[in-house]
């Protein structure tokens, strides 16, 4: 540096001032494109699904078929195992509610089958059971009192 030159600070350009915002912009743009692709262009196709994942209306049809089969065959064990597949929180309540809906819709046969299965499940649950746990009384043990000898 000689006498004629002097040090000057160059103000940062507009592009440098912007910092790394362009990375965030790119990320947001990418997420939007990715979501558009995964929801509309190439959405998830489910395969090998479980009855518990069915839509409510499809579950209702499945449940009413189970109830009709029970009404026809009387096989409660099989009906119970099938109902477990739908994974209703309270199957008796769900069957009863669906029976009421069927009755309101004028489908008496379906309402009867659903109510019959609900009733059978209710009575199988409330049947008296022999208690299996019994209180076992254990005699207390006492140690012989020791006597001190002089």
């Amino acid at each position: 540096m000689n006498e004629n030159t002097q040090e000057r600070k160059i103000p940062p350009s507009f592009a440098e001032k912007r910092g790394a915002w362009f990375i965030l912009t790119g990320l947001i743009l990418g997420v939007i494109l990715g979501v558009i692709y995964s929801w509309w262009i190439n959405p998830v196709v489910l395969e090998n699904t479980h009855p518990a994942s069915l839509e409510t209306s499809d579950k209702d049809i499945y449940r009413s078929t189970i109830a009709r089969v029970y009404a026809a065959t009387g096989n409660l064990d099989r009906a119970y195992r099938r109902l477990e597949l739908i994974n209703d929180g309270d199957p008796i309540f769900t069957l009863g509610a669906q029976a009421q809906q069927a009755l309101a819709a004028g489908d008496g046969d379906q309402a009867y089958a659903l109510a019959l299965l609900a009733s059978a499940l209710q009575s199988s649950q409330s049947s008296p059971q022999i208690p299996t746990a019994t209180l076992q009384i254990v005699p207390t043990q006492t140690l012989p009192i020791s006597t001190q000898t002089p």
């Binding site: 790119g26 997420v31 939007i32 994942s53």
Partner: protein, 118 residues
């Protein structure tokens, strides 16, 4: 590499990372909460059990049209196809003889009712 070229490169990388994150979000996280399956996507053993239920009802009421209507629940494919795959699965997995017979009975009824193709 010039400064603005580097910016373009990082911008492109950010978009790619964002797309990957968006696809993960759309396929794994959000559908897992909201997506419900349809009956035609049920696993073969559940489909077989449903076909068995339809066969049990058919044996009781002999209502052929109703049995066909019930089989539509499993999708638009021909009922013979659904029954055949169910019978095949039941046979391979040692279902009870009576259950197999009920499904075979419905299958033969459908075959007899369909027009012959010559």
């Amino acid at each position: 590499m010039q400064h603005h070229q580097l910016r373009y490169l990082f911008f492109a990388i950010a978009i790619l990372v964002g797309i990957a994150a968006g696809i993960f979000l759309g396929w794994k996280i959000i559908p897992a909460r909201n997506v419900h399956s349809e009956p035609h996507t049920l696993r073969i053993d559940y489909k077989t059990d449903y076909v068995l239920m339809v066969s049990e009802l058919f044996q009781q009421d002999s209502d052929f049209d109703m049995a066909l209507a019930r089989l539509i629940y499993l999708g638009e494919s021909p009922p013979e196809e659904k029954l055949l795959s169910a019978i095949q699965y039941a046979d391979e997995n040692a279902y009870e003889y009576r259950d197999l017979q009920m499904m075979l009975s419905l299958f033969s009824s459908i075959q007899n009712s369909s027009p012959t193709k010559d």
